[in-house]
Amino acid sequence: EAGVVQSPRYKIIEKKQPVAFWCNPISGHNTLYWYRQNLGQGPELLIRYENEEAVDDSQLPKDRFSAERLKGVDSTLKIQPAELGDSAVYLCASSLRQLAKNIQYFGAGTRLSVL
């Protein structure tokens, strides 16, 4: 079974440019997450989707970040315009919602460098 697929793996852009990341979750997983991981830190949640609905976007900087999950499968995360402080690894994860546990499966991430 394929895991969570993210693209691109690396992205280098100049500040003020737009950038987009794509995520394909594990087939059948209805919950999708976007995290940002800064150097030396743990992943921090940006947004969580249940199917196509964003159920928690409280940590998403909405002035420049946007996300969508059309048809409740693939998802894209966009930054416009990018700032120097946005340099980080952006991780996508998915899970099958169960009451007993919440094991999330992560993609390899997209490493963003803003120059």
């Binding site: 030396g40 830190q41 928690d56 409280s58 009451l99």
Partner: protein, 117 residues
């Protein structure tokens, strides 16, 4: 304010010995805890978890211990192998109310484990 703390940025252990990674949390409402392992240039992978109704969970060489009164958990790896060298993240979750922010994982900063042959 960090709710999940891993106070040791790194740990070095000899192959065959025990590795003990520690994690402290501040939110007494957390009721499920997970450990993830991360290799360079890869995403975190789930390793082992424990519910707050238990104090120990074992899976092969990996055992997680939970001390609720101390708000402390630890991951024991016995025996340690060079392939265990990675960054280990502790994460906590409040499951009781899945909606809103209470259903999200809170990660620590990670501990880099090096197992020397």
């Amino acid at each position: 304010d960090q709710q999940v703390k891993q106070n040791s940025p790194s740990l070095s252990v000899q192959e065959g010995r025990i590795s003990i990674l520690n994690c402290d949390y501040t939110n007494s409402m957390f009721d499920y805890f997970l450990w993830y392992k991360k290799y360079p240039a890869e995403g975190p992978t789930f390793l082992i978890s424990i519910s707050s109704i238990k104090d120990k969970n074992e899976d092969g060489r990996f055992t997680v211990f939970l001390n609720k009164s101390a708000k402390h958990l630890s991951l024991h790896i016995v025996p340690s192998q060079p392939g265990d060298s990675a960054v280990y993240f502790c994460a906590a979750l409040r499951q009781m109310n899945y909606g809103g922010s209470q259903g999200n994982l809170i990660f620590g900063k990670g501990t880099k484990l090096s197992v020397k042959p």
